[in-house]
């Protein structure tokens, strides 16, 4: 409860800001652009939601249930786009597809067109463009969770479906998909929250979403409270969506359907079907990862000197340190909160925990303001206290140090770790708790000796997700970091903010590269976490 409150503080600060009056912002917005913001945002959410769902689920199903060339590689490689910051991909895609980009140049040469007026080409900087780019970097959330869900499904259930006369396709739609629904929905929720709070990409594509509206009200109309009000509306919207989904899901049980597992029977694909499967997996991987990585690499060749001249290695170190600490702290807090909810599942505690983990949906810079306010109050109080008692100044103990950044990351990414831990703990039967308790173990000891070992895989998953996201994180870092402290992301941003990504290509490439290792760990972790596929003697399968 206390932790939930601590984490919820910045959110409460934002809500508090929203309570102060904001003159005529709302009238103005309603009369002019609010409708457009809402529709564009809904369009973006539908597009990204649908795109990530289809790509994430289809690829997850293919690599878990089918055998085709390249499957082993795709198994982990499909996660790679997660490490690519959306704004980087946006830049690369635009660069390649616009008039002077490779594609159009080639087209012009082939068809002999000479100018823009000679042919039609879709507008890249548009809502569809933003949807495609976001889908490409966000589908791994769905893929990750859907794949884990498919792996956990008992084959018995699928076998039953087959014996009841359903073909592989029908089995997928009637059994596997509904069973994996909670996982897919969680993945989509994460993807959508990320899409909602994005500014860089939508700005780049000249798409005006609700979030761009929040920034506009804040920065151009100098209305902090108005921005906070808009952000609160966004928050309520997200909470409503989540609540709706939970209501729709309630009454159904999605527990492990059988405790018996056997090696997953694969559909072996051949010929055109194998080619199709290969293509389905290869496309998102190519556009979401290979293309940006290759383009960044070629930029780096020209501009590596600029990057190395700056404190490149210090930035790398800073990024790695910050992300690691934030990953550990988010996971720890996520575990304690999820376990606290498990121990004391009263609706209030549950709601508090859920509220605390909603920071993911708030635009980063707004959340940063929410972080700055309570930390500032705390620091000043501490400072006065120290001055009064010891005669020394505490200065900005928290908000002037990287503690603020880590706190901010934790608040922001708690949804990732808390959600993962909640789902993972939910799979452990409460009788395990009972068994450990009656065997003389306190709740803390039970957590240590029973739950933590059992959710080890999910702990790693949550930690790595947070790590990868922190490596990319920008708005919070920009506002909260102390003096003379840069990360790879802020370093890249000082160029990217002016669409000068070539100059920072090596930095961007490093962000992407640093994401690969955790992604590979992640995927190795999922395959090994499947019940019945554990190490040594546990390999034996019970029937």
């Amino acid at each position: 409860m206390a932790i939930a409150l601590l984490i919820a503080l910045p959110l409460l600060a934002v809500l508090f800001l929203a309570l102060s009056p904001s003159d005529d912002i709302w009238n103005h917005l309603i009369a002019t652009v609010l409708g457009k913001y809402v529709w564009t945002t809904l369009g973006l959410m539908m597009g990204v939601g649908f795109g990530t769902m289809v790509i994430g689920t289809a690829t997850a199903w293919l690599v878990t249930m089918c055998k085709f060339p390249g499957r082993k590689l795709f198994n982990w490689a499909l996660l790679l786009p997660l490490a690519v910051p959306a704004y980087v991909l946006a830049f690369v895609v635009t660069d390649q597809l616009e008039y002077a980009g490779t594609l159009q140049v080639v087209l012009r040469e082939i068809f002999g067109w000479s100018s823009r007026q000679d042919y039609w080409f879709p507008e890249i900087r548009s809502l569809p463009g933003a949807i495609v780019v976001m889908t490409l970097v966000l589908y791994p959330y769905v893929y990750l969770l859907a794949r884990a869900a498919f792996l956990e499904q008992s084959v018995c259930v699928l076998d039953v479906s087959r014996t009841l006369g359903n073909g592989p396709w029908q089995s997928f739609f009637k059994v596997a998909l509904p069973l994996a629904r909670p996982a897919i929905v969680i993945g989509m929720t994460l993807a959508l929250m990320e899409a909602l709070n994005d500014l860089g990409t939508v700005e780049f594509f000249a798409v005006n979403t609700f979030t761009s509206g929040i920034y506009d009200v804040w920065l151009n109309m100098s209305s902090r409270s108005g921005a906070a009000q808009l952000a609160s509306v966004l928050l309520i919207f997200v909470l409503t969506l989540i609540a709706l989904e939970r209501t729709a899901r309630s009454g159904r049980r999605f527990h492990h359907t059988s405790s018996k597992y056997s090696t997953l029977a694969c559909y072996r694909l051949r010929g055109p079907r194998a080619a199709l499967a290969f293509l389905v997996c290869a496309l998102p991987l190519s556009f979401g990862f290979l293309l940006p990585a290759a383009v960044l690499f070629s930029y780096s060749l020209n501009f590596y000197a600029e990057t190395l001249a700056a404190n490149y290695f210090q930035y790398v170190l800073n990024s790695l340190t910050l992300s690691s600490i934030a990953a550990i702290s988010s996971v720890l807090i996520g575990v304690f909160m999820a376990y606290g909810v498990r121990l004391n599942g009263s609706p209030t505690v549950r709601a508090a925990a859920r509220f605390a983990s909603i920071g993911y949906a708030i635009p980063g810079a707004i959340l940063a303001i929410g972080v700055v306010i309570p930390l500032g109050i705390f620091d000043n109080a501490l400072d006065r206290f120290l001055l009064a008692t010891l005669g020394i100044s505490g200065g900005l103990f928290l908000s002037g140090t990287v503690v603020a950044v880590i706190y901010g990351y934790t608040v922001r990414f708690l949804a990732l770790s808390y959600g993962t831990m909640e789902a993972s703990l939910g799979k452990i039967t409460p009788n395990m708790d009972g068994a450990a308790r009656t065997l003389g173990h306190s709740p803390a000891a039970t957590l240590r000796r029973v739950h933590l070992p059992l959710v080890r895989g999910s702990l790693l998953t949550a930690g790595l997700l947070v790590f990868v996201d922190c490596m990319k994180e920008l708005p919070l870092t920009l506002i909260l970091r102390p003096f003379n402290y840069d990360t790879l992301a802020t370093f890249v941003f000082q160029y990217a903010s002016d669409e000068l990504i070539e100059e920072a290509a090596l930095g961007a490439l490093t962000i992407v590269g640093a994401g690969i290792i955790p992604v590979i760990l992640l995927s190795w972790n999922i395959v090994n976490s499947r019940p019945g596929q554990n190490q040594d003697s546990r390999l034996k399968v019970t029937r």
């Binding site: 395990m432 308790r437 000796r449 546990r538």
Partner: protein
């Protein structure tokens, strides 16, 4: 003195009363079964007694020690109660070996190492000490779970449907093994089950629960032969029912005269007769008597109204007869004064398979004919 004493316990979930004022007393070395259909509150009672749910009303004592009190809101956490609990799904820790599971609650582990080795040996599990639970069969897991629960030498042991996950063929063996082990350790045991046969076999005393209330508390023999309600009688499987009116302190049924002296004259009652309580024989012969039988006096011949008095009813028409191996199940028609006869089922030890349509004689064992008022 140790043992478990639950007094006047009530519990509700979301406003629904699940347990209503139940008291349970288990002496050291005694095995008490809570028997009842699913949803009757027996598992809740066990979880509250074990401390896994906070007590709402009533008191729980372990020996002389008060561990939970509804009046003060005091709840000793389960880990401080010194109890053992075995779950229906065993809840073995999948990340620990069999040996690690068993010694999970023991400090220091070395204290019970020797005991564990002996127990594993005795249970035929010695070879599995270092393997992981999911490689074991259901029966093996059950025994590991039991050993884990008793390893810390609890003063009270709770068993929640301990045999329900097992194949029928293995059950008997494992029950015997379990019973032996429990008797050896002399622990006070409260076991929850919905299987009356299991309760009969295991229990020193059976507490029957229904709708959150205690219905009957007695020895297995009491519960079976002296059930205090139709509900308890019914627990042991389908029974034959006969409705009648008390006349002269007895009920005349086609199968004999049944004692009902404790009922008012003219009261409508139901007679419940278990299939095992009916004896059949070919017409003209006397049904074989079994030790303890107390056959009812034959009923006076039924005389159809208006017809001349003829001879005694020759017997009942057999509907079908099936062999169950150890016994035979025979269904026969009993006229009840309406157009449709009552079909009764009788279970006869050994092989007794009269042709459908043939006649049989029938008598009832008075001990197995139970009379209850119709409310």
């Amino acid at each position: 003195m140790s043992g478990l004493h639950v007094s006047n316990l009530s519990h509700a979930f979301h406003g629904d009363d699940v347990v209503r004022g139940v008291s349970v007393f288990v002496r050291p070395g005694e095995l008490v079964c809570l028997l009842g259909p699913s949803g009757c509150g027996k598992t809740t009672l066990l979880r509250v007694a074990a401390g896994l749910e906070d007590l709402q009303k009533g008191e729980v004592h372990l020996g002389e020690r008060l561990v939970a009190s509804g009046a003060t809101g005091f709840n000793l956490p389960p880990e401080k109660r010194g109890i053992g609990l075995m779950f229906q799904d065993y809840a073995l820790f999948p990340h620990l070996t069999v040996a690690e599971n068993i010694l999970f609650g023991v400090k220091p582990k070395s204290r019970r190492q020797a005991w564990m080795e002996g127990a594993l040996e005795q249970m035929g599990l010695a070879a599995f000490a270092e393997t992981y639970p999911h490689t074991l069969s259901g029966g093996q897991q059950q025994r590991v779970a039991l050993l884990r629960a008793i390893a810390p030498e609890p003063s009270v042991l709770f068993l929640d449907e301990p045999f329900s996950g097992l194949d029928v063929t293995r059950r008997a063996d494992i029950r015997t093994q379990t019973l032996n082990l429990l008797k050896e350790t002399g622990v006070a045991t409260l076991m929850v089950t919905h299987d009356p046969e299991e309760a009969m076999f295991m229990a020193d005393r059976i507490l029957v629960m229904n709708h959150g209330r205690m219905v009957q508390d007695g020895s297995p023999d009491d519960i079976y032969f002296r059930p205090n309600s139709a509900f308890v009688t019914d627990l042991f499987g389908a029974v034959n029912r006969w409705a009648g009116i008390v006349t002269g302190g007895q009920i005349n049924s086609p199968l004999g005269i049944i004692e009902a002296s404790s009922f008012n004259e003219g009261q409508r009652v139901q007679v419940l007769i278990r299939p095992d309580g009916i004896r059949l024989a070919a017409p003209g012969t006397q049904p074989a008597e079994i030790a303890g039988d107390a056959p009812c006096r034959p009923a006076p011949p039924s005389v159809p109204a208006g017809s001349p008095v003829t001879q005694r009813q020759p017997g009942f028409v057999v509907v079908r007869a099936r062999s169950l191996g150890r016994a035979s199940q025979v269904a026969f028609r009993v006229p009840n004064g309406t157009a449709e006869d009552t079909v009764m089922e009788a279970r006869i030890p050994g092989r007794f398979l009269p042709q459908a349509g043939s006649l049989v004689w029938a008598t009832v064992n008075a001990r197995e004919a139970h009379v209850f008022a119709i409310d």
